[in-house]
Symmetry: C3
Subunit: 133 residues, 3 copies
């Protein structure tokens, strides 16, 4: 099954990184024309989401809203101190699935695929596989 791994270096505790171009580049190199692309995040303090890529303020607002919604100062039991990042991981989810058409992700006009760092900065990986069909 065609696939690969993208490596990332995040720079902040929380940030969204647009990985659409890298996935599309890898997809084209794989030669798959049509299928389902599963983009998969193997980490438990980071997520993946599809949202607007045109205005970077949307990414900042997403982070701000998650920090408002998820209790940051709650008496969590997990000793590493990054429980809010684990919660955000469950809220955003570990993968996104997108159709491939003509060798590229078939996203909406304003959509981009974002890696969501919730406990950085760190070295991170994202895997992808395409089921041709």
């Amino acid at each position: 099954m065609p696939g690969g791994t993208i490596t990332l270096s995040t720079n902040r505790q929380m940030e969204l990184i647009d990985i659409t171009m890298e996935i599309n580049k890898a997809l084209r190199a794989s030669g798959v024309g049509e299928g389902f692309c599963l983009v998969y995040n193997p980490h438990t303090t980071a997520g993946l989401t599809i949202n607007e890529g045109a205005d970077p303020d949307v990414q900042r607002d997403l982070i701000a809203a998650l920090r408002e919604m998820v209790p940051l100062d709650y008496p969590y039991r997990h000793a590493e101190g990054n429980s809010p990042a684990h919660v955000m991981t469950t809220l955003t989810g570990s993968s996104v699935t997108v159709f491939v058409e003509n060798g590229s992700l078939k996203l909406g006009t304003w959509q981009k695929v974002f890696f969501c760092e919730f406990d950085g900065p760190r070295a991170r990986k994202v895997h992808w596989r395409v089921m041709a069909g």
Copy 2:
């Protein structure tokens, strides 16, 4: 790959619309017996979710709870004023995947597939594709 697009006209700023029957009708017309159906929302201020369809109050309660959880009056930076809708999009997700069996979505007894409008009213689209297997 069998697939198509459903068009929707939403009527309120926020509402959930049951699209199960339309997808099942399109599935049957496509003649696919078994596979994975990816239902995909190409918008960034709308989502998709699977939840109870029997009591319409569940849909109203979901909207009420999202409006309680996501900050509505926060000093967001995105100038269009619809940042809460972008946040709700990330919380619900851009797609749902369901098995197809005997030509229909294999949902649980109470489950329906809902389009989630977070920034309407608008004209919207939902794409679907089936990977036969």
Copy 3:
């Protein structure tokens, strides 16, 4: 398409149950080497998530955070009184998709697949199917 159903008995109103070993055991019995595994929850007051499995406190913190975020005492309209569970179902999602490699789920180092009970205790089911590729 190879697949099956896992049955669960939950013991509390809210709990996370690691189902990774059961799915991997069923996968190995099915003989599929490589593909996409869709793990699907047919219930509307329970979810599925992928998160850290090493420290059980992460599971407890996830439940605690959801109970902080989702309004529990809100004047919901759904008469069964379990609207918070329906909301949590939409937040976590009804399925997870994971690559299969060498006959097992290709999870990250710390990742496990969890069934999320939000309205227990109950008898529950989880379906899985693998699209070989």
